[in-house]
């Protein structure tokens, strides 16, 4: 049996459509079977509510008198992109004001507008014959704008990697606070309620499909940026009228140590056309698998420590390498439910009819890494290869002489086979002198837990190590822990004239 979209829409119009949320669907399919569920259910509603950085809105402010061709535009001190027509601008959610002491960004401005607040518009121009004005400042409400159209380049991730941290320090990431030594796991996404997870083949989710967007009746534009459905990370570009949105489903947020983002509620109604749709909407948390990634690796390709399902993540704890680690979400499941439930009431009340995609989204597409034409500088290119080292049994006075003679402040300490076992600095030696002979040998004063780098490590990461640990040099070791060089803050300065290393 198949069901046409016309039939479903006719039922919606007469108020007889059977609508369920994606959370209710698996049990219905269990009970009635696929054919039975197809006959019973007309529409499945989905929903998600979480941080979606790639969001923002286009505005048309209307013309002032005398008119201005806005070249730079600020809304509550947050700069909007004005490189479009005279009084148009795009405000991105993550753009931050430079003038505030607490993080305040585009997301805060959008929330301010949606909640009915006043926002200060400031703009500048060089002035033209047709647009003579050079600056303007005014206060605006959302209703004062001709258009305020949300266009979010990337929303509603199909699923997302969960995050943990194997390093010894707390990390502040877009996945929230990650405690040291795998102290917690942070995840995002609504699992069984997630829109794309209910149609991973993109059979009914595509361009032109009506959706719930932050309380407004929105629409899918097409595939989202970085869409990678072929690897299970499909995304959507969506649009909707900001004037119809509600604060409940549009919230500015600040990820500590990272920056501003925006939480948005997105829901897609799925017409139950055939048993294929029945099967895909019967997806459970147990079926949606994701990786727990180590965000302690400061590289693009981070290692996976475990594969888990959303059911595991939602249970409150998972196992990583035999240890139980607590999990918590960044996205709100409660509000994802509210999205799916409100969308359900819209359709039951005949407020929204469904449509099939006018253009399909590629379910096999994979996103690519950046093509980099300039080689990322590595430690080997700038490290000092003339390593002056010392062994741990030597007298502190020998260390002092070597430091003086080598005009350096850092001596890697090596064992008999040349492997790194510690480091001694001029500061350590000075301290030993002041201690009146309590310490005699290098091993008495050396630091054993040495922060180190490798020849292949990108310079930016080595620089970050120096900064985070408040040190000024790193021994460079090969794969066998043999010292092959030393990298100092001064070496970093050699890299690019004019580039500042803090």
């Amino acid at each position: 049996m198949e069901k046409s979209l016309d039939l479903i829409n006719a039922r919606i119009r007469e108020g007889s459509a059977r609508v369920v949320t994606a959370e209710e669907m698996p049990a219905i399919v269990d009970e009635l079977g696929e054919e039975g569920a197809l006959e019973e259910v007309d529409v499945v509603t989905t929903g998600t509510f979480g941080a979606m950085c790639s969001s923002g809105a286009f505005f048309n402010f209307g013309h002032a008198d005398p008119p201005i061709r806005m070249e730079r535009v600020w809304l509550n001190d947050v700069e909007a992109y004005a490189g479009i027509a005279a009084v148009d601008a795009y405000l991105g959610a993550t753009q931050e004001a430079e003038t505030r002491d607490r993080p305040y960004g585009g997301a805060h401005v959008l929330e301010e507008f949606v909640s009915g607040g006043t926002v200060e518009l400031r703009a500048t121009s060089h002035g033209t014959d047709c647009y003579p004005r050079r600056s303007i400042t005014t206060e605006l409400l959302l209703e004062d704008m001709n258009q305020a159209i949300m266009v979010n380049p990337r929303n509603a991730y199909q699923r997302y990697n969960a995050a943990t941290n194997t390093t010894d320090r707390t990390l502040h990431t877009y996945m929230g606070t990650l405690l040291p030594r795998c102290g917690n796991v942070s995840y995002s996404g609504a699992g069984t309620l997630s829109p794309i997870a209910n149609d991973p083949g993109f059979r009914v989710i595509g361009s032109g499909v009506p959706i719930f967007l932050a309380g407004a009746r929105g629409m899918i534009v097409g595939e989202g940026t970085q869409h990678s459905a072929g690897t299970g990370f499909g995304t959507l570009m969506v649009t909707g009228d900001l004037k119809e949105m509600r604060q409940e489903f549009l919230r500015a947020a600040v990820m500590s140590g990272y920056g501003v983002t925006m939480y948005i509620g997105v829901g897609v109604p799925i017409p139950v056309l055939d048993t294929g749709v029945v099967r895909s909407t019967a997806v459970r948390d147990e079926d949606i698998i994701t990786d727990i990634i180590d965000y302690g690796t400061p590289r693009r390709d981070r290692p996976s420590l475990a594969r888990v399902s959303y059911a595991d993540l939602k249970s409150g704890s998972v196992e990583i390498g035999g240890e139980t680690v607590r999990t918590s979400p960044l996205s709100s499941y409660r509000r994802a439910r509210a999205v799916a439930r409100e969308l359900k009431t819209w359709i039951e009340a005949g407020k929204m009819e469904l449509a099939l995609p006018t253009r399909r989204i590629d379910p096999a597409k994979r996103s690519k890494p950046m093509r980099e034409t300039a080689v990322t500088p590595r430690v080997r290119e700038i490290m000092d290869r003339r390593v002056i080292s010392i062994t741990e049994d030597e007298d502190i006075r020998v260390a002092a002489k070597k430091l003086l003679k080598g005009e350096t402040n850092h001596l890697p300490v090596v064992d008999a086979s040349g492997l790194l076992v510690g480091i001694v600095t001029t500061y350590d030696v000075s301290k030993a002198v002041v201690s009146n002979g309590r310490f005699r040998q290098v091993k008495d004063i050396m630091t054993r837990n040495v922060i180190r780098t490798t020849p292949d490590e990108p310079v930016d990461i080595a620089a970050q190590k120096l900064e985070q640990n408040n040190i000024s040099a790193l021994p460079v070791v090969d794969a066998g822990n043999r010292v092959v060089g030393i990298l100092s803050a001064i070496d970093l300065g050699k890299l690019l004239p004019g580039r500042r290393w803090r």
């Binding site: 509510f49 606070t177 942070s186 939480y263 607590r326 918590s328 979400p329 709100s332 409660r334």
Partner: protein
């Protein structure tokens, strides 16, 4: 009940120079659990947990020894308007103060809080604050 003890260590006779906690335990026989201690050369701040029934006695004894005592109730405050029930606070808390109810609503068990402040920083919505 949790009591926040603060004392000076500057002067010769300041309570911070004395083993005040040990003394109070010995005198009263009440078992005191130290949950957090932050003591430097000038001052100290110690969070202790004591049985509710003995809290008044303990508070009085500490005060007699020159220690300032404040009972910590509802240590962490949630702004219900700002909170979206995301749960980012749950796994960063060492005391399991936060949890979900079956409806995925965030529940706060403030009695367990030891004022570490991690959740305040971790909350993306600025919904958590510490009672002053």
């Amino acid at each position: 009940m949790k009591l926040l003890l603060t004392f000076s260590r500057k002067g010769e006779h300041d309570p911070g120079r004395e083993p005040v906690i040990a003394r109070v335990v010995k005198e009263t026989g009440v078992l005191i659990n130290v949950e957090k201690a932050n003591i430097d050369s000038m001052a100290g701040e110690v969070l202790v947990d004591v049985p509710d029934g003995d809290a008044d006695l303990i508070q009085r004894r500490f005060e007699e020894m020159g220690v300032s005592v404040r009972a910590v109730v509802d240590a962490i405050i949630r702004d219900e308007e700002e909170c979206v029930d995301c749960g980012a606070c749950i796994s960063v808390c060492p005391q399991e103060v936060f949890s979900f109810d079956p409806e995925w609503r965030l529940c706060v068990n403030a009695e367990r809080c030891v004022l570490c402040g991690r959740c305040i920083q971790a909350c993306p919505h600025g919904a958590l604050s510490q009672q002053e």
